[in-house]
């Protein structure tokens, strides 16, 4: 009798414990267990009072904020249009390139112009100040969002999510090419006036070595997250965004213009990309490998869930801290370079036990 013996699936989903009304499934238990083991080992070694250990944790947290910034762009678009935007990393790169271009007074498409028209003009002046350059970059990102909606998304209304996903892969390649053509492929330094170097105050107070730019990134990320959460949860526009994500046809029938909503969503994603591009660009320099940071956002999303803004933040923090601590303490034992794969292994573990992520909506299929 199937009634008496629960199926394998049922038993798996039923495992776990309930503490004061909070149910902990197998994924949560595994995570907590692993964390407990790690903490135990560390405590045994007396690391918890070690300043170096906390330095690693904090640098992990701040790196995590940087990952979360990229992941945030993914979550926003996914939540509000149901599109997994593969081009988010390239969008960040493009935003950073544009910003540097405006700052240094580069002429866009200079090489193309000299090739076709023979005009040798690579700089039009000394460039704008940082604030003005940021404003113009934002305008460019909003215009780009409009172009994406008109050219890429409009013909795909009512199509499957996978079609839109494929379109964003194409978009990623096109944007990378256009960015190259427009601003050149050399590595550029980006200076937006953010404080650089280690913070002396923190060194004096605790003896820890913390980069100032990472603290700025954390502050900016927190402000951004609060603003976006308020926007999507408490405004009429936010409601329209969620409606579009749920059902295109129904949204149209209540008078929502898909194109307008998509434009707004992609503009916001452009804004987030600009912020992420500035932070990463200031840290690593603006180069084409910036678009690869998008790949680091994937494990963050698998941990946090594709639909949760707090999840993106927490996922970023867990991965940031996890990979730093793992690299420093376990890395030497197994040959190092664990930062390259740790995040993906962690994500794989999550996919096995909790595919919806920490905060994602539980996937329930009615049959």
């Amino acid at each position: 009798m199937t009634d008496a013996t629960p199926s394998m699936v049922e038993r798996l989903t039923r495992t776990g414990v309930t503490v004061r009304g909070i149910h902990l499934g197998p994924g949560a238990l595994l995570g907590l267990g692993a964390a407990a083991v790690v903490l135990l080992v560390l405590a045994v070694q007396g690391l918890l009072i070690d300043v170096f250990f906390w330095e690693v944790v904090i640098s992990g947290l701040l790196a995590g904020v940087m990952y979360a910034l990229v992941a945030l762009g993914f979550v926003l678009i996914f939540k509000s249009s149901g599109i997994f935007n593969f081009a988010q990393g390239v969008l960040a790169l493009f935003a950073a390139l544009t910003l540097v271009g405006f700052q240094t007074g580069q002429v866009p498409f200079a090489h193309l112009l000299s090739w076709i028209l023979g005009i040798e003009a690579h700089h039009w002046g000394d460039g704008f100040g940082t604030i003005l350059a940021l404003v113009f970059s934002l305008v460019v990102m909003i215009a780009l969002a409009w172009l994406i909606v008109r050219v890429v998304l409009r013909p795909l209304v009512n199509q499957e999510g996978i079609m839109l996903f494929m379109a964003t892969i194409g978009l990623a390649f096109v944007l990378e090419g256009v960015g190259d053509l427009m601003w050149g492929a050399n590595v550029k330094a980006l200076d937006v006036g953010l404080p650089q170097g280690p913070s002396d105050t923190i060194i004096d107070a605790t003896g820890m070595f913390v980069e100032k730019i990472e603290i700025s990134a954390a502050v900016v990320a927190i402000v951004l997250v609060i603003a976006l959460t308020l926007f999507s949860q408490y405004t009429r526009m936010g409601r329209a965004l969620r409606a579009v994500a749920d059902d295109h046809q129904a949204a149209l029938s209540v008078g929502i213009s898909l194109e307008t909503i998509w434009w707004i969503v992609w503009s916001i994603a452009g804004l987030v990309a600009l912020v992420a591009g500035v932070m990463w660009g200031a840290k690593l320099g603006v180069q084409f490998s910036l678009s690869l940071i998008a790949l680091k956002a994937l494990p963050v999303l698998m941990l946090g869930g594709f639909t949760s803004i707090p999840g993106a933040i927490l996922g970023g923090l867990i991965i940031g801290v996890g990979e730093k601590v793992f690299e420093v303490y376990v890395g030497p034992m197994i040959g190092g370079a664990t930062e390259n794969w740790f995040a993906y292994m962690l994500a794989l573990g999550f996919l096995l036990f909790r595919p919806q992520g920490l905060f994602g909506e539980k996937i329930i299929e009615r049959v």
């Binding site: 926007f231 526009m237 409606a243 029938s253 209540v254 008078g255 929502i256």
Partner: protein
């Protein structure tokens, strides 16, 4: 002196109607043509879904569109609502020829609809779903909304009050805060009707509002449709398969078959129409 028009004061329907009239309460009246559909032809590639169909919808009436499966009923509704653009023909709305418009623009003209396969925002609550129906009525811009203060807040409260009336009308108070994805089918259909009503439509399109319902749910839905028509004076065009329901509540019926119009008139006229009988019962080809 006649009594106020309450159920207690009137013995019969006629008496009730007379009392209503005496007190100057609007009696259900069929008025002018609101929508005139002229010679619509809709093709998908080589398939002609609708062939040269014309009919009209009058103010305040319940207009049913019936026909066997694949007759082009839903396509017709999609043409009216702007999802499909016909290759030929014209649609006149309130005395004006309607140009090619997008569905969201048509929604702003006061045409609301429900869907054959429920199209609700499944992750949102009943309340939020019905609130989206008010979007066409909201005027404050995004910046006010983002600041969530002053006029925007007042407006939100006004709309919330209107939505609460609809919730009371449809008797769905208890599921106000439930995500609609979790509701049973019949209630989802009711929420979808609520969302369409929230736009205070002048023309309401219902695509099989009673499909898949049990007898009790059907009776409820019938009552809501009649009440909407009666109390708000909303013009309704509906597609329905249940003949009993259609013959009971519709003022006029248009019958489609294989994309062509084969009958048009009151339920009684349609029932006697030989072409309609043939389409429904089949006809021997010998």
């Amino acid at each position: 002196m006649s009594h106020a028009p309450t159920a207690a004061a009137a013995e019969t329907d006629e008496e009730y109607a007379a009392a209503e009239e005496a007190h100057g309460i609007a009696v259900r009246q069929i008025g002018e043509v609101v929508m005139d559909i002229r010679n619509i032809t809709l093709r998908f590639g080589g398939v002609t879904a609708i062939r040269d169909i014309s009919f009209d919808i009058r103010e305040g009436e319940i207009r049913a569109i019936i026909g066997p499966n694949g007759a082009g009923k839903s396509s017709m509704l999609n043409v009216i609502n702007g999802f499909y653009h016909p290759q030929d023909g014209e649609i006149w709305y309130r005395g004006k020829k309607r140009g090619p418009m997008k569905p969201h623009q048509i929604a702003r003209l006061g045409i609301a609809r429900t869907f054959q396969n429920i199209a609700l925002f499944k992750g949102m609550t009943t309340l939020d779903n019905i609130m989206t129906g008010r979007l066409t009525k909201m005027r404050r811009n995004m910046i006010w909304q983002a600041l969530w203060t002053g006029p925007a807040e007042r407006e939100e409260i006004e709309h919330r009050a209107a939505v609460e009336k609809i919730i009371d009308f449809l008797e769905i108070q208890s599921i106000r805060k439930t995500p609609v994805g979790r509701l049973p089918y019949g209630l989802q259909k009711r929420v979808e009707l609520g969302r369409a009503l929230a736009a205070e439509p002048t023309l309401l399109l219902l695509d099989e509002p009673m499909a898949g319902m049990n007898v009790e749910e059907k009776e409820d839905m019938c009552r809501f449709i009649l009440d909407v028509n009666d109390e708000f004076g909303t013009t309704i065009a509906l597609i329905e398969h249940d003949m009993g329901v259609v013959m009971d509540i519709a003022d006029r019926v248009v019958v489609l078959d294989y994309g062509q119009k084969i009958g048009d008139g009151t339920p009684d006229e349609v029932r006697k129409n030989q072409a309609v009988i043939d389409a429904y019962l089949g006809v021997s080809h010998d």
